[in-house]
Point group: C2
Chain length 448, copies 2
């Protein structure tokens, strides 16, 4: 295994020292159940969007310690030689189930449920949280933007506004939230996402005149390209762009506006294009957009939205605040017991949850039902009785990862699943304002 | 070159299509000067901190297209075969200078200056922006936190709150901003940053009692470890922790508080520890800290701060809003001309800038002086006349990267340099409130 490909060190150190201590105490192999969930949605989110599951499973495939890592752990005396022996042969052999990628989630929704030895479950904790916290945050923001765009295409152009590797994952998450393309080439090659692009102001400035720049771009990319018309004077830029495309024998594909008051400019530019007879030339806008700016442009004659900063930084919510908590474990006699932290403001409901989305008679989601303290079979019956769509699917079975959740194909599946899941939500889900979750969560404790 | 190691695809597609068009037009090899800078600081930043330079240079070492990438570009018809031939042999051969890593920066400061062919300069644009936008945002937040901590150690525990690879870079940036350790193992092994950790609530919950959990941890990690005392009842937890450490023959290293009202709890727990005679046992706090919460804890008996979410998400400013703009280029006759975008709200000052920090008689920074439209030699004289410390250093010379800016050692150097640079700033720099930059920027145009 290549050093840079191993994912085991993408972790907090304490996961390893806890395993070390538990190995010595003989508690490391107690069976446990951990759940990954959000205690509550951010106030600007009526629903969350599950994203990152496929990436997490891909990372789990590469979750093996390298010799270099083990040597370093030993040299730094981070864990004992007994622990190093354990890590040397480590491969996750537990079970993981969870919400399908693209599914909407709410407060308490068990997005992942990990059933494994304590040691196995904690070693993957940080990695699971990092991936899901980032990807769910971006997908949730993306979904709000595509709601606001109301069918007009949204394009990810945020690569330069976030960490270079996070950008790739952000593009993937954006697609799950309904975006149709990305400027990021790595996302294109890795996940087969359509890549898009226009040109930069520097390209215009490189040439001796705006005419030259437009002509060079059209020569290279054809008249269907998008010309950036706001380097100098926008009205002149639009006139030149249309003229040069016609000289090249075609109608210009689109113009891009990247500065100023986009609403006012869109109307002005559309009027100018129409007056020039360029009815087929589209307008794409790209300056500081978020879901609110997109909504404000709803009545403006705009054809597509290029979104950067606010997409890749989660539109004010850069991390999804998901946590990973032990909810059940075996005791020393091998009996399963619920466990939960009791302290102020961060309490957790103990016991494994079985999740279903209760549908009302009108077919819309009415409740996130979390059944607790019963068998899986009993939970399935209870969910059916409540007309609840079961939400958890198997992802990893005794260490074997479900292949269908991996790779580029999984992104398409997740995107389609999100459309279905979002369409099922009640009207409140489509509101951009702050407020309550679109669907309330109810715990149904069958032990009571 | 390994597919995953190549950094060329961490880019917006348009960088490549612009190169393609310019190659066809014969303009791709025009000499250009690009600057990477922020138009203005975010309102909550009195200064920015340069970070990521070393990572960018490391990424530049691996900036070569792989066969697989070239095949994909060809298959997707993203660029022409002429462009693919150019990319096949691509290696950056230009010059890059910039602010030393760790330096403070202000509005307009040319953090990087790239002198190269247009094609070379634009191919590295997105990568440079991604890395610097992320790393500067985190380092700038970190520096505010270490100011607020006033000498008490700050520790990065944010891995789980950001993208798994961004976490590694965030730890590196945090150290440049004055943090003294990280929980992230990859940051530890890659940059030789001290790694730290305690234990999680799950560790306590795994065991049959809090006593058991504490005993197991102390058996494994010694009495100098940090025990998490808020899983059940804090006062009981503290009493147990001290007692069990003493039974093991030592004094407990520290207790960690991770929930509730930290100020009130810190006083209560300190009082309890002192009453128990555990005067040497320290208190570390870790719940939702940022620079404001740290400042609020300034008078509380706390010994160190573990910072997560708000550090790795830039404490409200997740991206540094840096841009990369062409400021000068050769024309078709080989003469250098200033260039600048003129449109509303995003205008750029043309011409290469020579930057110096003007020091007042008291020795504090009074002005960021950017000299423009003159030779490097003349600029050096002018900066000296103004008692300005020159800020730019060579990073890449004709494609050869300055080794001293790479690797773990560069992080230490940057951290030390930041201390010096920050100490030079006037009092305003230490204010946490919103407001003006601590040092104003002045452009001195010598052509006028």
């Amino acid at each position: 295994m290549n050093f840079s490909n191993s994912t085991t060190f993408l972790t907090d150190m304490y996961e390893l020292t806890m395993v070390d201590a538990a190995l010595k105490a003989g508690t490391a192999h107690r069976k446990t159940v951990f759940e990954l969930f959000g205690r509550r949605l951010p106030t600007t989110r009526r629903f969350g969007v599950v994203a990152g599951t496929g990436r997490f499973l891909e990372a789990l495939q590469r979750f093996q310690f390298t010799e270099e890592q083990l040597r370093w752990l030993n040299d730094k005396q981070i864990v004992s030689s007994e622990a190093i022996k354990y890590l040397e042969n480590f491969k996750f052999k537990g079970d993981i189930s969870g919400y399908a990628e693209g599914e909407c989630y709410f407060s308490g929704s068990p997005i992942l449920t990990v059933k494994a030895d304590f040691a196995e479950a904690v070693l993957i904790e940080t990695l699971a949280l990092s991936i899901l916290n980032h990807d769910c945050a971006v997908a949730s923001a993306a979904s709000r933007m595509t709601i606001a765009a109301h069918g007009r295409p949204c394009l990810d152009m945020g690569a330069r506004r976030t960490h270079e590797r996070a950008a790739v994952s952000a593009a993937r998450s954006a697609v799950i939230g309904g975006f149709v393309g990305t400027s990021d080439l790595e996302a294109g090659i890795r996940y087969n996402i359509p890549t898009i692009g226009t040109s930069a102001h520097a390209f215009t400035l490189l040439h001796d005149s705006e005419e030259d720049a437009f002509r060079v771009q059209i020569d290279s990319l054809g008249t269907s390209t998008t010309l950036l018309v706001d380097t100098y004077d926008i009205a002149q830029g639009v006139e030149r762009a249309v003229k040069i495309a016609r000289e090249a024998g075609g109608e210009l594909g689109a113009v891009r506006l990247d500065s100023g008051d986009l609403v006012a400019q869109a109307f002005k530019v559309r009027g100018q294009l129409d007056a020039l007879g360029a009815h087929g030339t589209k307008i794409t806008v790209t300056s500081d957009l978020d879901e609110y700016a997109i909504a404000a442009l709803g009545a403006a004659p705009v054809d597509s939205y290029g979104v950067g900063t606010r997409l890749v930084t989660g539109s004010g919510v850069p991390t999804a605040a998901l946590v990973y908590k032990m909810v059940e474990r075996e005791d020393s006699a091998g009996n399963w017991i619920d466990v939960a932290k009791k302290s102020a403001s961060k309490s957790t409901v103990g016991g494994e949850k079985y999740a279903g989305r209760v549908l009302s008679e009108s077919g819309y989601a009415a409740e996130e039902l979390l059944v607790v303290n019963c068998s899986a079979e009993r939970a399935a019956e209870v969910l059916a009785e409540h007309n609840a769509r079961p939400l958890q699917v198997p992802l990893v079975t005794q260490g074997v990862i479900d292949d269908s959740r991996l790779g580029a194909r999984a992104v398409e599946v997740a995107r389609d699943h999100h459309v279905q899941s979002r369409n099922e939500l009640p009207y409140q889900a489509w509101r951009l304002s702050e407020g309550e979750a679109a669907v309330p969560t109810r715990y149904l404790d069958l032990s009571a």
